[in-house]
């Protein structure tokens, strides 16, 4: 095997994004958020720091939340990707989205899609996390506007409503 020849600058991938099949040929170094925004026009996923720190790019791949800026599109052949556009359409995050609006948990909205995916994971676990636990779970998502209290209020509202409804 020729070592140089086997490495591809461009890679073919077939995946699903928000339930729709997508086939593409991408630069090997292109991360998932650039692919979603620049190639597919899905601008709901945001890129802030692009080195894993801010959480703005948090989305769902194969059922788990990941940093979209730290996953290469080339790696996603066969993967299932959900972005904020997709989950808004299915309505699965309606309660969280409504709570964010009611509690003023966003101002500019840059951090919000990532916040929603991180928060949704906590909500799905069930139970009634304390504010401290919510804060710890959300500690990888930065917001430059709200001061965080409103975000925690919104998540707490959803987790306690969910528990109350049981």
């Amino acid at each position: 095997m020729n070592a140089e020849g086997m490495f591809r600058r461009q890679v073919e991938v077939a995946l699903t994004v928000n339930g729709e099949p997508v086939e593409a040929r991408v630069d090997a170094g292109k991360h998932l958020v650039d692919f979603l925004r620049l190639d597919l026009g899905l601008t709901g996923s945001h890129a802030g720091c692009e080195h894993g720190v801010c959480g703005a790019c948090t989305i769902r791949v194969n059922g788990e939340i990941v940093r979209g800026c730290l996953v290469l599109t080339a790696q996603l052949d066969g993967a299932e990707v959900w972005t904020v556009e997709g989950v808004s359409e299915t309505g699965e995050m309606r309660a969280l989205q409504d709570a964010f609006v009611q509690r003023n948990a966003l101002q500019c909205g840059f951090c919000t899609p990532g916040m929603l995916f991180a928060a949704a994971e906590l909500v799905e676990r069930g139970g009634r996390p304390s504010r401290e636990e919510i804060r710890e779970h959300m500690s990888g998502n930065y917001c430059r506007c709200t001061g965080y209290e409103a975000i925690i209020d919104a998540i707490e509202q959803v987790t306690s409503d969910q528990e109350g409804a049981r």
Partner: protein, 284 residues
């Protein structure tokens, strides 16, 4: 928009990955969780690189029972360390350490092998390997060797791995019935790399801590064993153990903390760790 020119190849077997690593002769890197590597590509720290993606190699993933040891595959995600029952029962320090790494969305991807190969001096898992006396199983196209963790970490971001070797797995001795394991750290923000952290393992019998091992992280180029403190704990003397840290450790000063402050914190963590080990061992 990224300037780094990247070549990509998805390996379909461990053998093929090792063959490619050898023939690339230093011009290619393994891509595991990508949580350090893709970040460095995005920051354009290199002009050009070739990636051997090992994420499809399921034989490198998972935890298995090997009698008196457990074997953890290199591609095992931090998230799996958090949740695997065999880790909780046999090497609980790994589960406790995993939760301290970054954030949930990073732990779903980041791997044990990537963390050990990257060898960040402030990382939790390398110190766990040293404290628990694990062996790192390194494999090349025609060889396999076991490297004791203490000699695996050679310097800042430097390991004993040769250019054509990958980490295949680690083997960790199972905790005995009297054994307690504690991982504690202090970081400025939750999920950040620690300013100071420690991994303590000991058999708790009454007040004495037998067979104790204390590995600090964030205090030097590699995980540091606090040998003076370890022997003081054998005699059950916690004050002497904390005093011995001044000889055992030579912490750096940087913008996160001064050397003096780090040494102070190292003592605080040791007292907390010993108190917890004794409490869990039924002694106070």
């Amino acid at each position: 928009m990224k300037a780094t020119r990247v070549g990509y190849w998805r390996a379909d077997s461990v053998e093929a990955a090792l063959g490619a690593l050898r023939s690339a002769a230093g011009s290619a890197q393994l891509l595991a969780g990508g949580q350090s590597l893709v970040a460095s590509l995005n920051l354009r720290l290199a002009d050009e690189t070739n990636l051997i993606d090992i994420n499809g190699l399921t034989e490198l993933e998972g935890v298995s029972d090997e009698g008196d040891r457990i074997r953890v595959g290199a591609l095992t995600r931090h998230r799996t360390l958090e949740t695997a029952p065999l880790v909780a029962s046999s090497a609980p320090a790994l589960a406790e350490a995993a939760v301290l790494i970054a954030h949930a969305a990073i732990r779903t991807r980041g791997t044990l092998g990537g963390s050990l190969a990257y060898a960040d001096p402030a990382a939790e898992l390398p110190a766990c390997m040293v404290a628990l006396e694990a062996d790192i199983v390194a494999r090349s196209a025609d060889d396999r060797r076991r490297i004791p963790a203490e000699s695996f970490f050679e310097g800042l971001f430097q390991t004993a791995l040769a250019e054509d070797e990958m980490i295949e797995a680690v083997e960790v001795p199972k905790a005995g019935p009297l054994e307690r394991q504690v991982v504690l750290e202090l970081a400025r923000r939750s999920g950040d790399y620690a300013m100071v952290g420690l991994v303590l393992r000991a058999d708790v019998e009454g007040h004495a801590l037998a067979r104790s091992r204390i590995a600090y992280f964030g205090l030097g180029a590699v995980p540091v064993l606090a040998r003076g403190a370890m022997s003081a704990l054998e005699a059950g003397d916690l004050d002497a153990a904390v005093a011995a840290l001044a000889q055992d450790l030579d912490p750096p000063s940087d913008l996160h903390a001064s050397a003096e402050y780090r040494l102070h914190l190292a003592g605080v963590l040791l007292r907390r760790a010993v108190a917890r080990a004794r409490a869990e061992g039924g002694s106070t």
